[in-house]
Amino acid sequence: MHRRTSLAFAGLIVCLASVTGCGKTPPAFFRPNMVEATKQRLTPDQEKQVATILLAMFGTPDEPTCLPETGLDEAKLRLAAGPVRSDIVGRKNGLYREHCAHCHGITGDALGPTAAFLNPYPRDYRPGVFKFKSTERADKPTHADLVRVLHNGIPGTSMPSFALLPAAQVEALAEYVKYLSIRGETELALMRAYFELDDEAQGKLPETREFLVDETLVAVADKWKAAAEAEIQVPPMPADIDLVASIAKGKELFYGDKANCVKCHGVTGLGDGQANDYDDWNKVIVEIGKELASGAASARGSSTAGMSPDELSEHRAQLAWLEKFGKVLDGDALEPRTIPPRNLRHGIYRGGRRPIDLYYRIHAGINGAPMPAAKGTVPPEDIWHIVNYVRSLPYELDGELGADKPMLARDRF
């Protein structure tokens, strides 16, 4: 009897050890962009080729490398990458995993363990799209833009401020974000390149420097390099501006047909206008969802009775693909969420509250979000009027809203 108990106990220990593991933690790895890989219907061999090319170009999360064409500083990357530790001179390493990875994920895919619980979701760096920046809509952010977001955090979201980190650490983190973004965009380009291949290529990308570096990587990296020179030139707000008149003019524009802010931000400015749209990151998933639903309905609806063997195998492949895509979405995408227009009476400005920040947002729109650009149709002085009006909104004496004193919506909680 005694022996049986001890055997069971030993078994339990062995089992516990096998489940919890008693060796070293496996090394961190970059997760492939499964949504795009499946969308492009890559074969396992093609997925492997992409992973191999990316390993050659960018290394691993513990040992990042970069080609000189990326313009990245490898020393900074090493400071940010790897597990959290101190190096031989006591300098903190592994900053990305200490501060960022739990939301943004090791891969920068916004699938970290806490990501699903946040609203809005953390940023996925892989499409290379950033919202809060001083450049035109489609341009990359400048290095200073990334540093500013790290300094100020993003009020209204779960992104906190890292202003009190030493400058070198903030620099390293900004560089690492760029690295993950360039890596992610290169991965997307490679996965999409399979479709563009000619039939002679037999589904294999050419592993030449011309194709991988000159055509693919440089195209991505050059946009980042160009950003430094692409800052929007902001005509100064007239120094003698009459603020009251400007706010009144801004209000007129806000509600007018030209700037049309009211359509989304609502007649009250509470962000209750057009509110059932998606941002670009979520829209991808929404569109795939529709495509899957339509494909599934059409595949299941078609009768297999009259099919030739070829058609039948194609039909089966299609069904298998649809099923796989469903599984990929379960594990590699979060439930899509709509993007509500900003409530302008909160006085919380995600991209910064400086007048120039609001000018950038209105002038260039917000990349990745529905917010369109006003440049071209709204002249700069009018944009300044809108800026002044928007900045006055949290403090507006507004009987319509039932308040009889300066009201800051945030004061109500």
């Binding site: 300094h151 955090g153 009020p155 906190p160 401020s161 980190l165 903030v170």
Partner: protein, 266 residues
């Protein structure tokens, strides 16, 4: 049981007060003692702390020594006679009930003034700053030139609190999401931030310098990351800093070099 084991157990129990006292004696030398106090009310709080420490220390040592003495004296291996049973001593019970009760009552009355200073006698002034705790940072709002919160000249900052020296400073503490605990160790302030409540916290800093703001909330994985900084500086420096921050907030042109925007510490 041998005599040796009796001696051993007595000594083990004697080690408790010896090591206990030694820990407190060494602690200040290895810098795990109270942090530098830069607040006006801190002296009273520290005084209370030392007083209670001394009081409990004496009782602790006395109890432990008594325990040791009993173990030593009444070792089973040494005692030969039969044990004597007593019903109890009414006088003794009255004494050891009244003495602690009186001590506690004394402490309750003795600390009242300090408590009132820190938690009740709020200075008659508008809030000097609003601190809003959120997951996971401290959002700050200064009332600006007009001294009133909720007006267009408010100054918004994060994690970097500045305070003028030798002046009453009133914080309006709020939380945006969950419980946080606003802890300024050097200013001897610790106050929970409760969602839905505006809690006043006040202090008067007596020395300039830079000190930590931490979140003392235990539960949850992110509170330890809510490290902020409080800078105590002269009124002139404070005003200059406010003006410069306000000018940055009202910028209509890009900053020449944003990396110089915030001074940082290692």
């Amino acid at each position: 049981m041998s005599r040796l084991s009796g001696i051993l157990w007595s000594l083990v129990f004697l080690a408790v007060p010896v090591l206990g006292v030694a820990t407190f004696a060494i602690a200040p030398a290895i810098d795990v003692w109270l942090p530098q106090d830069v607040s006006e009310h801190g002296k009273a709080i520290d005084g209370l702390f030392y007083f209670i420490l001394a009081l409990t220390g004496v009782v602790f040592v006395a109890t432990e020594v008594a325990l040791f003495w009993f173990l030593w004296k009444y070792d089973a291996a040494k005692a030969t006679g039969p044990a004597t049973y007593i019903h109890g001593s009414h006088t003794l019970e009255v004494v050891w009930t009244i003495i602690p009760a009186a001590t506690l009552l004394f402490l309750a009355i003795y600390q009242m003034n300090t408590w009132a200073d820190v938690k009740m006698r709020r200075p008659a002034m508008a809030p000097s700053v609003e601190v809003v705790a959120r997951q996971f940072e401290w959002r700050l709002r200064y009332p600006g030139r007009d001294g009133t919160l909720g007006t267009p000249d408010d100054l918004f900052l994060v994690n970097d609190l500045h305070v003028p020296v030798d002046e009453d400073f009133l914080v309006q503490l709020k939380s945006m999401d969950v419980l946080h605990s606003f802890f300024l160790p050097n200013l001897r302030i610790k106050q929970d931030a409760v969602p839905g409540m505006k809690i006043p916290v006040w202090f008067k800093a007596t020395e300039t310098g830079q000190f930590d703001i931490v979140c003392a909330e235990l539960c949850g994985w992110g509170h330890y990351k809510m490290k902020g900084r409080v800078t105590v500086e002269s009124r002139e420096d404070f005003d200059r800093w406010l003006e410069s921050q306000y000018a940055r907030q009202e910028a209509t042109q890009p900053e020449p070099d944003p990396s110089t925007a915030v001074a940082r510490t290692e």
